[in-house]
Structure formats: structure tokens, C-alpha cells
């Protein structure tokens, strides 16, 4: 906030000039597709207040190349939080652009109530990479069910890297409740040095911390 305020005099002069159309829905949609980055950034910010804007923001996200506008779209979608907006954020998890994926993960971490209804589906997605990213979302998701979701992943997921990612997190947040699943995981991947190493680490932390 302090950063924004320090820049306010210059920024306001420039950005007010860039808010060219009416700040109604149609005007903002026009500006969302402006060739001017600053105009688009303002449009994205203002569209956050209009519930009907989610499909248009998701569409723009598909080809927006400017990083700051893209970040603004992700934040606006998280703020809107309707089904279309959340689906748009989730679609970023399938992107080949690692930066976009990470930005989407960071934004989704901030909206636990919106993520909760879809988390089970994400954790059982057919694409193992999406399942890994879903576990990444759990990392900072302040939600009571995080440990249980992670336990289910290491109990059921057949993919070693999905389990390994869940294991990394369980070694931080796991309690005694996780011990049977951790023991079972180590037995399931007994020939994998990394799994053996990290289950031992997680079990040690849980037992010493209890």
C-alpha cells in the first residue's frame, strides 16, 4: 500500500487519462481489449466489481501477454469467485506456462472457501501434474481439512510424485493422525529412496513433536 501511495501523484495523472470509456460494463469490456496495457490494467481492476465479467476476464486471460495485466486478471477472478472465475483459475493449472501456473496456485491459496468444493476433484484429476498443483494449493490453504486431503492422497494416489509432493507438505503439517498413512506409503514405495527418506523425516517430526 505504501508503495502505491508514494507513486500516487504521477500514477493518477497517467492512469486517469487511461480510463477512457464509461466505467460501465460495456465501456470496461472495450477497454479490456485495448492495445494500451495501462487501460487494460484499469479495466481488469474495475471489472472486479461486476459479477458478469468473469467469462470475459477468463477469455482475456487465455491470450493476455502482459504479466501485470495477467496478474490483475487472476486477482479479479479470485475476487469474483463464481464458478466461471474459479474454473478459469483452475484451467491455468493445465497451462504449459510455469509462471502462469504458479500465479494461479498463489491466487487459489487465498480463497479457501472457493477452492474447498473443487479440491476433491482436483486431487483426483486424470492429469498427475494437476494433482501435484492441487497439493501445492493446499500448502498455504488455511483450511481445517488440509491434513485429511493429504492423507487421502498418500493412501490412494498411484503416482509417486503426487505422493511425494503431499508427503513434503505432510512433513510440515502432519499430526499423529497421519502416521498410519505414512507408514503404509513407505511400504508401498519401499524401493524409492526419496519416499523412504521423506516418510522417515515426517514420522520423526510427528513423533518428536507429539
Amino acid at each position: 500500500m505504501a508503495f502505491v501511495k508514494r507513486q500516487a501523484p504521477d500514477d493518477l495523472t497517467i492512469t486517469q487519462d487511461k480510463r477512457e470509456n464509461e466505467r460501465d460494463f460495456q465501456g470496461l469490456l472495450l477497454e479490456l481489449n485495448s492495445p494500451d496495457v495501462t487501460v487494460r490494467r484499469w479495466a481488469v481492476r474495475d471489472l472486479m466489481q461486476i459479477p458478469e465479467s468473469s467469462p470475459f476476464l477468463v477469455t482475456r486471460l487465455g491470450f493476455e501477454e502482459n504479466i501485470s495485466v495477467r496478474a490483475g486478471i487472476l486477482n479479479s477472478l479470485a475476487h469474483l469467485g463464481d464458478n466461471v472465475a474459479i474454473a478459469g483459475l483452475v484451467s491455468c493449472l493445465r497451462s504449459e506456462d510455469a509462471a502462469l501456473r504458479n500465479e494461479a496456485i498463489d491466487v487459489l491459496k487465498e480463497v479457501p472457501d472457493k477452492v474447498e468444493p473443487i479440491m476433491s476433484n482436483l486431487l483426483t484429476d486424470l492429469d498427475s501434474d494437476v494433482r501435484i498443483f492441487a497439493v501445492n494449493i493446499l500448502e498455504s490453504l488455511r483450511h481445517y481439512n488440509v491434513e485429511q486431503w493429504l492423507i487421502e492422497v498418500i493412501e490412494k494416489d498411484p503416482h509417486i510424485n503426487v505422493c511425494a509432493t503431499a508427503l513434503d507438505l505432510l512433513s510440515e503439517v502432519g499430526t499423529e493422525k497421519s502416521i498410519p498413512a505414512l507408514t503404509q506409503l513407505k511400504a508401498r514405495f519401499e524401493d524409492e529412496p526419496y519416499i523412504c527418506f521423506s516418510t522417515d523425516l515426517a514420522l520423526k517430526r510427528i513423533i518428536e513433536g507429539s
Binding site: E96, A98, A99, R101, N102, D106, S128, D129, I132, F133, N136, I160, N161, A164, T165, L167, D168, S171, E172, E192, P193, Y194, I195, F197, S198, L201, A202
Partner: protein, 123 residues
């Protein structure tokens, strides 16, 4: 002794790789994302970098692209280590500047063999 920087946001992964490489006789430092790694590398250049892909703030691709622009350090080899095993992921890794692209989890002897290969430490 040669110095290696492990760049990964997962503490367990960093510790696993550190244990393996220290046992093989290397000195190891850690960074939790690409930004921290660049800052460390510019202060103290490393002989080799082990880079995860998905990290907050600056991912592995971004780190390598930026790293390869830094005149004083850009020659050092880098191993990209990731969960993504698709052909396109590999292509992106090599395009960003990785010398080698490995899929997690990595067996200890495999990691040491590749590190020795890239550092010219094979006897």
C-alpha cells in the same frame, strides 16, 4: 571442493539432495526460489545448479533464463529437476538453459553420476 546450489521450494527435497551431494564430497547451499538463487549466485558463483521448475516468485525456467544472461556466472552447468516428464516440459527446460533435465524422484547414485559428469569429476 566444488560448490553446488540447490534451488527448490520444498525443504524435504533440498535436504534429500543436500545429503546425497555432501556424502559425495560436494559443498552445498540452498535457495527456496529463483530470486534468492540469483541473489546468491551473483554474490558467490557456484560450480553447478540444481533447479526445480515450479517455485513461487521466480520459477526454474525464469531463473535459468535470467541466469544465462549474467556474464560472470552463466557458464556453470544446471540440472533441471522436476515432476513434469512431458516432452514439451523437457524442451522448455533445455530452451531455458538447462544442461540436463531429470524427472523426480532421483535415485542418489543417479544424481551423483550426473553431477560428476557435468562437473568433469569422473575418474
Amino acid at each position: 571442493m566444488k560448490h553446488i546450489l540447490i534451488i527448490d521450494d520444498a525443504a524435504t527435497v533440498r535436504l534429500y539432495h543436500r545429503n546425497i551431494l555432501e556424502a559425495a564430497g560436494y559443498s552445498v547451499d540452498e535457495a527456496i526460489n529463483g530470486i534468492e538463487a540469483l541473489e546468491k549466485a551473483l554474490v558467490k558463483p557456484y560450480d553447478l545448479y540444481i533447479v526445480d521448475v515450479n517455485m513461487p516468485k521466480l520459477d526454474g525456467y525464469g531463473f535459468l533464463k535470467e541466469f544465462r544472461l549474467q556474464e560472470n556466472i552463466k557458464q556453470a552447468p544446471a540440472i533441471m529437476v522436476t515432476t513434469e516428464a512431458g516432452a514439451n516440459d523437457r524442451t522448455l527446460g533445455y530452451a531455458a538453459g538447462a544442461n540436463l533435465y531429470l524427472t523426480k524422484p532421483i535415485k542418489p547414485n543417479e544424481l551423483v553420476a550426473y553431477v560428476r559428469l557435468l562437473l568433469g569429476d569422473l575418474s
